[in-house]
């Protein structure tokens, strides 16, 4: 195949439309579009012949076939040259020493049984060769009829190798090669043909990332591969997302290992990378594919490959730009001011208190119709978002280069002084062949992330804004910030006057490498790379003057934080491949050494000048939050290897291992061995299937392996002693003091010298089926994973007197499946492409040494054997009490004073039937894990138009919201939303919400129960694009290769059952399953955004 992964430009499709023009014109066009040049003899080919020729969006192979086959011209591609040969059979000169030869004759037929002309036939290991004639017939001489092997090759068809075995006549049928059969996939430390893979690997090509108005690659990945689950805790500009492959296997960090151009990196680098720089992303899912990354691969691996230039290609300049606007999607729907006043009175009366609003008040409100809504005041209707990317790529005879510059600017939707996220990316990737044996290169990327935000806490700004009823204006009639009841501050004032916080983070990532071919089949590769981060955070919170009102926010301070982290990696890899007869063997072995250091410091000054922040006589250093740390270094040394073997690409076997030593564990517990074995069987290579034409490739495969996880903080094997307290509890903060001078403390961390790796044992069975000559690709995988020795801080008795040390204690099972489907239909006019994926997984805690952990208050989660990790735990509701008789006969809630409930209150199931509702009546009521995650992309091209949409969603998921996000008048706050209108009253017994209450009277209904568990399944129209490309002829006239303009939209439509104004996509957990208590689960989040944008792609 001419498709090698290095030839980036060969993937660019060709469109030509000419009528009655010389062949030379078409060839010129192809040269320009492909970067390949033609070599031919004028005597053999008549380039002045006038032809009519049309191709649309075809790759080079197809274009050449369509052009030359009708002309009877054969062609072959060598490096970046296309060599054309005259139609006649022409013998290659045979060296004299082979003159004593035995002739072999035969015919080559195509898939339809017709003779195939122009097929190159050579004797393996020699330069002896010939081509078939117009009837597909050939004659060739071999000097050894026993061991000789003939190789039949033709562009667009699968190459055949046929041993002669004493025969004198050999006729063969050639099958068209399908693109998918030739596809090369990036795997750990190497590349491999997809058909030869025995592991489970999903590949995401650049097309899936292009033209989406997203700000990070991670956002673009959502829905693109089955069981690659992207969730967000916040949509705020610059917020990090959770990345997860195949669900949750550990109670600790579930983030996959991220490897960029072969160098282990981190999620921060991935979310900062320029999406336009990415060529492909491989998602390594099972043990077969990931075990070579050993101790960090239990959560899967993402291999990111950036783009390269192509050899002997003229410079191609590409510009991609998107400009658009973002608007909030989901926000709470408040009731009107009048409704609020009525509901408040109702709640107060229901709670045994006097109504707040008199009839006169109500009349006044009804007439005045105040309709302030703080959420509208603090969020802009639209906020601009744009990105621009400029790149130049190409190559000389020995050197390829890619230089790119990117700039992204996302305005925050918060009102205020230009809040937002800006990113600048620069990259240069250069590879050069020093000689036939030695290749070297460098890849360097620089990123600057600049985030400017308010100096306060988003959760409280949103909480304050969404809890204020429409009755109260955000500013009074003369422009002072108002302080509404139940609030001590004003969210708009915080945004406009409360100061700023900026994050200015610089990253250098890259690697240098050299590759030496020691022998023809043996090469060694040395790489040194890493990632350097410099983080700088500057926070200047200003005191806000609320006069004439009485409010808080009176404390100003300046905080300056600086941090530098460096992650380095040196690798040496030897790769040997040998093929003899029907056997192909590959052996890879390597050594890798990684290190990480982190140094940071912070200073916080209180009582500074409120305008400029300089120190005054009042200024004090806050020693609680001022420090210098020389962080948490870790190192990892590893040996790894792979052996693969295949027999005629029919039976495939592979084994991988990694042997890792980590500084995170004490001597003796430090080294871990992680092996995997896998096998595949390509049924299409068997005779019974090879005869069925429509099956291009059918493969079944299975794998087993052990993977590790070591994502815990360093130095947990020994007790560390720090001098500043790390937890501020019980109303206290800071070190103790004597005589009003603070004194240092000594805080012993809990430790366990015996900790070691978490180990996941994973099996995977899968199948890949390519039908209809590769137009339809289907794959399915089933997996089961058991993770043992999970590191966790198992609950210890209070009498122990310290935090629980980390121990290798738990066992978790995880099981799931995934399927994906791609269908390409290239019609005469319309081209369709559908890709779809669907996946499921669910974990279950198998063993936590019988110790249950319950976290949280009204919203509780439990770690209990037999149930998913952090399942929701609470009472089971059974409707609302309708009358006093039901209450009389019902169980009494023990947590309510005197067990007093009223009609319209929630009734709970008395699990142990003791007449009292208490902790012992709690159930596991659900879990937060997304099930049946899916993605569906449909693309259509028609003439020069293209259209696509992308739907992503979750088929089943629970989300537990608490506090003001579900309750009216939560904790005496005044929030009431539209969904509370359908509350229980004697005349509305079938209400969806209990009777309205306030304060203590709400105790029963606010208890954690499945009443507040929401169905967060959704389907979301993630992206829609409509584009138009200028016809090539027109583009060429104005000196361009390509010009495409498009309209695109993100998050335009969502189907969900959730109706309370919260986005079903938000996750309350981070990738360690830690909860941001009071943020997401209380609905205090920056809303998800929809984006409309206009984009343009230009290349010349």
């Amino acid at each position: 195949s001419i498709y090698s992964s290095q030839n980036g430009s060969a993937k660019k499709n060709i469109s030509i439309d000419v009528k009655d023009e010389p062949l030379s014109t078409v060839m010129d066009r192809i040269e320009k579009l492909s970067g390949y040049s033609f070599i031919y003899s004028n005597s053999a080919i008549d380039v002045s012949k006038r032809i009519t020729f049309q191709v649309k969006n075809q790759n080079l192979e197809n274009t050449l076939r369509r052009l030359f086959l009708p002309l009877g011209v054969s062609f072959s591609v060598v490096k970046d040259k296309i060599i054309l040969k005259a139609p006649a059979t022409s013998h290659i000169d045979v060296p004299a020493k082979y003159t004593t030869a035995y002739p072999i004759i035969g015919q080559v037929r195509d898939e339809l049984g017709e003779g195939l002309p122009g097929v190159t036939v050579i004797v393996k290991g020699t330069t002896m060769g010939t081509s078939t004639d117009a009837n597909g017939k050939y004659t060739i001489n071999v000097n050894d009829t026993l061991d000789a092997v003939l190789i039949f090759s033709f562009i667009g068809y699968s190459t055949l190798e046929i041993p002669v075995r004493g025969r004198t006549e050999i006729s063969v049928s050639m099958k068209p090669s399908v693109e998918s059969l030739a596809e090369v996939v990036v795997v750990g430390y190497a590349t491999q043909k997809r058909i030869n893979l025995t592991g489970s690997v999903s590949t995401i090509e650049e097309e899936a990332l292009e033209s989406k108005p997203v700000t990070t690659v991670v956002q673009a990945l959502q829905g693109t591969a089955p069981n690659l689950i992207i969730q967000q805790q916040s949509s705020e500009p610059g917020a990090q997302l959770n990345i997860n492959i195949r669900g949750i296997g550990t109670l600790g960090d579930n983030s996959p290992l991220i490897v960029i151009d072969g160098i282990p990196s981190n999620a921060g680098v991935l979310s900062s990378i320029n999406p336009n720089d990415i060529e492909s992303i491989s998602v390594l899912k099972d043990a077969a594919s990931s075990a070579i990354y050993g101790s960090r691969s239990a959560n899967g691996v993402l291999l990111v490959t950036t783009k390269q230039g192509s050899l002997s290609t003229k410079p191609v300049v590409t510009y991609n730009g998107i400009y658009g606007f973002q608007a909030p999607t989901f926000t709470q729907k408040p009731v009107s001011a009048y409704e609020f006043a009525m509901l408040k009175n109702e709640a107060l009366v229901n709670s045994g208190q006097a109504p707040q609003f008199s009839p006169d008040d109500l009349t006044r409100i009804h007439n005045a119709k105040p309709n302030a809504w703080y959420m509208d005041e603090i969020f802009k209707d639209k906020a601009a978002q744009q990105s621009h990317n400029l790149s130049v790529s190409g190559g000389s005879e020995n050197t390829t280069y890619l230089i790119s510059l990117g700039r992204m600017n996302q305005s925050s939707s918060f009102v205020g002084p230009n809040y937002g996220y800006e990113r600048t990316n620069a990259r240069t990737n250069i590879t050069t062949r020093i000689n036939d044996r030695l290749k070297a290169g460098i890849m360097l990327a620089y990123t600057n992330n600049h985030i400017k935000e308010h100096a306060h806490t988003t959760e409280f700004i949103v909480a304050d804004a969404s809890r204020i009823p429409r009755l109260y204006p955000i500013k009074d009639s003369v422009g002072n910030y108002n302080i509404a009841p139940t609030s001590s501050s004003n969210p708009l004032a915080k945004l406009e006057k409360g100061g700023i916080r900026t994050h200015d983070n610089d990253n250098f990532s890259g690697n240098i490498f050299a590759e030496l071919n020691i022998l023809k089949d043996l090469k060694i590769r040395g790489v040194f790379g890493g990632s350097l981060w410099n983080y700088q955070t500057y926070e200047f919170r200003k005191a806000i003057n609320y006069l004439p009102y009485i409010g808080g926010d009176g404390q100003n301070f300046i905080k300056d934080y600086n941090s530098k982290t460096l992650q380095t990696n040196a690798q040496l890899v030897a790769d040997y491949k040998v093929t003899f007869n029907d056997h192909a063997i590959g052996v890879l072995g390597g050594y890798s050494s990684e290190g990480y250091t982190e140094n940071n410091n912070q200073i916080r000054k209180l009582n500074v000048d409120n305008e400029f922040g300089f120190s005054t006589s009042e200024t004090e250093i806050d020693s609680r939050e001022s420090y210098n740390r020389r962080g948490t270094p870790w190192t990892l040394n590893s040996f790894f290897g792979r052996v693969n073997y295949n027999f005629r690409e029919k039976y495939l076997f592979e084994a991988n291992f990694r042997y890792d030593g980590s500084s995170r564990f004490a001597k003796g517990n430090r080294w871990g061995f992680f092996p995997s074995v896998s096998a595949g069987w390509r049924l299409t290579e068997e005779e019974f299937l090879s005869s069925i034409k429509s099956f291009a490739n059918v493969k079944v495969r299975a794998s087993w392996g052990k993977l590790g996880n070591q994502n815990i903080d360093p130095f947990q094997y020994t007790s560390n002693i720090r001098n500043l307290p790390d937890n501020l509890e019980y109303g206290n903060s800071g070190n103790y003091g004597f005589n009003n001078n603070s004194v240092a403390g000594a805080y012993f961390s809990s430790s366990n010298p015996d900790i070691t790796w978490e180990t996941s044992t994973m099996i995977d069975v899968g199948a890949e089926i390519d039908l209809l000559d590769g137009a339809l690709l289907f794959s399915y995988d089933y997996f089961k994973k058991r993770t043992e020795d999970i590191l966790l801080d198992l609950a210890v008795p209070g009498a122990y007197g310290a935090d629980a040390p980390v121990v290798n204690a738990a066992v978790v099972d995880n099981e799931g499946w995934e399927m994906s489907l791609t269908y390409n239909r290239k019609g005469a006019v319309l081209n369709h492409r559908i890709t779809a994926n669907l996946a499921d997984n669910l974990n279950a805690v198998v063993d936590v040494k019988g110790k249950e952990t319950i976290e949280g208050g009204d919203r509780a989660v439990i770690i209990r054997e037999g149930f998913p990790i952090k399942s929701y735990y609470g009472y089971r509701s059974e409707g609302l009490y309708q009358n006093l008789t039901e209450i009389e006969e019902g169980p009494k809630p023990g947590f309510v004073a005197n067990g007093a409930v009223s009609p319209g209150d929630i009734r709970y199931v008395d699990k142990n039937a003791d007449g009292v509702i208490n902790e012992r009546d709690r159930f596991v009521i659900g879990n937060p894990f997304p099930r049946y995650t899916f993605g569906l992309t449909y693309g259509l091209t028609w003439k020069n138009f293209d259209f696509s949409f992308f739907i992503q969603g979750v088929g089943k998921r629970n989300l537990y919201l608490r506090g003001e996000s579900v309750e009216a008048f939560h904790n005496n706050w005044e929030n009431v939303y539209e969904q509370h209108l359908d509350r229980w009253t004697p005349t509305n017994p079938d209400a969806t919400y209990p009777r309205l209450t306030i304060g203590t009277a709400s105790t029963n209904n606010n208890a954690g129960s499945d009443y507040w568990l929401l169905n967060a399944a959704y389907a979301r129209l993630k992206n829609v694009q409509i584009g138009y490309s200028l016809p090539n002829s027109l583009a060429n006239k104005i000196g361009l290769n390509n010009l495409r303009v498009y309209l695109t939209g993100q998050n335009l439509l969502t189907v969900t059952e959730m109706n309370n104004g919260y986005d079903p996509e938000i996750s309350e957990f981070n990738s360690s399953l830690a909860t941001s208590d009071g943020k997401v689960n209380s609905g205090r989040v920056y809303p998800n955004l929809k984006v409309y944008a206009l984009g343009v792609d230009i290349s010349f």
Binding site: P485, T635, F715, I721, Y730, G731, N732, P797, A799, A897
Partner: protein, 516 residues
């Protein structure tokens, strides 16, 4: 090839620790830090009939305990168990290792042990008062050991506390023997005072008397009442001669933020959660020494805040109170309905119409973070303990009165002879009633009331039924005093907190308390 044997370079590990005197002192500092905390100190008042906690969240939901609707999973009850054992572990780490430290002056080594043993005793004192029988831990436990502990009998716990306190009282300096830099450390006086408190709880009155006399004769140190009552709790008077033990705070560097919960809404700037009850307000005598329910007292329900015990005005904020702002200006607090941010009918304001003024730190920062020390034991308590002991033993007379009640009332600001002088007509029960009421108002918002009503076994009387706010309601219900919260107390079980469910889940050897 990277080195896998890394060590932290910015902190010590257990391999490098305990090689210098500072190490022992730093661990001791941490013992002090965990001795007690501001949340418990202030929210303890809401466990009693003196105050109401409006919040379900702040103060570990102490409201539900006061209401009697709680079980073994209650947050405060779960957390306090662990809190004390965390403090005990720190003391045990120090006591177990301090002898290893080289270069430590031997006298200092003894003092450090004394301080640590006092703090450990302070923890066990609270443990046994709340939970009764508790596991006795005197060394650094392994996880496995902690999973198999059993509860020691209360007698053993008390003996353990006694032994620690005797040691502390023997080795610790008097308050006068510390240098100024050491102000805030535990003294001989503190050790003796805690011992007296323990004796008082047990009703071993002779011990109370013996220890009190050590204070009177200077053996325990040099203590007197501070010149004026309000000033005892002001930041400018920290370390005054009345203070026997206080929890240290340092402006900016170590603060607590609890005052925002009990100050008037306009000053605390947050939702009020600690509110004095009408019952506490009613406990303040008239300035003639008579209770308000005495027809001769001159109390006028229509002008209830006139001519009251002078301590009332420095403790309670009521409708019409003149609030002194940090900038020297004053501001009238209005708590009647419809009177603005501090009104009883404002959601965020005190539901009783009262706030606390005591312990207001005007030097706190704009977020109400205060560096004001919290007094855990003060000399007035020794005086009232002594009086109580004398009365309990039938030895109360005018001499005891003059040495205890009279000077406390004088210092409080009473001038009327009827309030200051002993009335020989009083019998033992009259005196008991006077002394108990005196403790209630003298120590309001100092967290002692909940312990007093439990040791006096009067919780079932005062913690049952409605508590009230000011008189703003329907006169036909409770004479118009606003019902704020209904409480119930079951004497068959509520005198001891349940052993936390969490602990019993993690250690099958822990037994339950009666009737839980």
């Amino acid at each position: 090839c990277e080195d896998l044997d890394l060590v932290p370079t910015d902190r010590e590990t257990e391999e490098t620790f305990w090689d210098k005197p500072e190490d022992a002192l730093n661990v001791l500092n941490t013992c002090y830090e965990y001795m007690y905390n501001a949340e418990y100190f202030f929210f303890n008042e809401t466990l009693s009939d003196n105050a109401f906690n409006k919040s379900e969240v702040d103060g570990s939901n102490s409201r539900n305990i006061a209401e009697g609707s709680y079980d073994a999973s209650h947050a405060r009850i779960t957390n306090e168990w662990s809190f004390h054992y965390a403090g005990i572990r720190k003391c045990n780490i120090l006591l177990q290792n301090v002898d290893r430290v080289e270069g430590l002056d031997e006298a200092l080594r003894e003092r450090i042990k004394g301080e640590a043993r006092f703090i450990r005793a302070f923890h066990y004192f609270h443990m046994t008062v709340w939970y009764g029988d508790v596991p006795l831990v005197d060394n650094v436990l392994s996880v496995e050991e902690s999973q198999n502990l059993t509860r020691a009998s209360q007698i053993d716990v008390i003996n353990f506390i006694n032994t620690d306190l005797d040691f502390a009282a023997r080795v610790l300096p008097k308050n006068t023997a510390y240098t100024a830099d050491d102000r805030g450390r535990v003294t001989k006086g503190a050790a003796l005072a805690l011992k007296a408190r323990l004796a008082q709880y047990l009703g071993t009155w002779s011990s109370v008397i013996t220890i009190a006399e050590q204070f009177f004769n200077g053996e325990a140190g040099n203590y007197t009442l501070f010149g004026n009552y309000a000033g005892v709790f002001k930041p400018q008077n920290e370390f005054n001669q009345e203070v026997i033990l206080d929890l240290q705070y340092v402006p900016v560097q170590r603060t607590h933020d609890i005052q925002r919960f009990f100050l008037p809404k306009t000053e605390g700037k947050l939702v009020t959660s600690i509110a004095p009850t009408q019952e506490l307000v009613d406990a303040y005598l008239m300035n003639n020494g008579m209770a308000i329910n005495n027809p001769a007292s001159g109390y006028n329900e229509a002008a209830p805040y006139v001519n009251r015990d002078p301590r009332f005005y420095s403790t309670i904020v009521y409708d019409g109170y003149e609030w002194q702002k940090p900038d020297g200006t004053s501001y009238t607090i209005r708590t009647l309905p419809g009177m603005g941010a501090n009104s009883i009918d404002n959601n965020d304001a005190s539901p009783t119409g009262y706030y606390f003024a005591k312990y207001y730190d005007h030097t706190a920062d704009a977020d109400n973070r205060s560096g004001l020390n919290l007094i855990l034991i003060r000399y007035a308590e020794i005086l009232l303990m002594y009086a109580e002991a004398k009365n309990a033993l039938g030895q109360f007379d005018v001499g005891v009165w003059d040495n205890t009640m009279k000077i406390i009332r004088q210092r409080a600001g009473f001038t009327d002879a009827a309030a200051l002088e002993f009335n020989s007509a009083w019998n033992q029960q009259d005196v008991e009633e006077i002394l108990r009421n005196e403790r209630r108002v003298e120590f309001a918002l100092e967290g002692l009331r909940i312990f007093d009503i439990r040791r006096w076994r009067i919780a079932e009387d005062v913690m049952n039924g409605w508590i009230h706010g000011m008189r703003v309601g329907d006169a036909s219900i409770d004479n118009g005093y606003k019902r704020v919260d209904f409480r119930s107390f079951d004497p068959s079980k509520h005198y001891l907190w349940p052993v936390p469910q969490r602990e019993r889940d993690l250690n099958k050897n822990l037994s339950k308390n009666p009737n839980w």
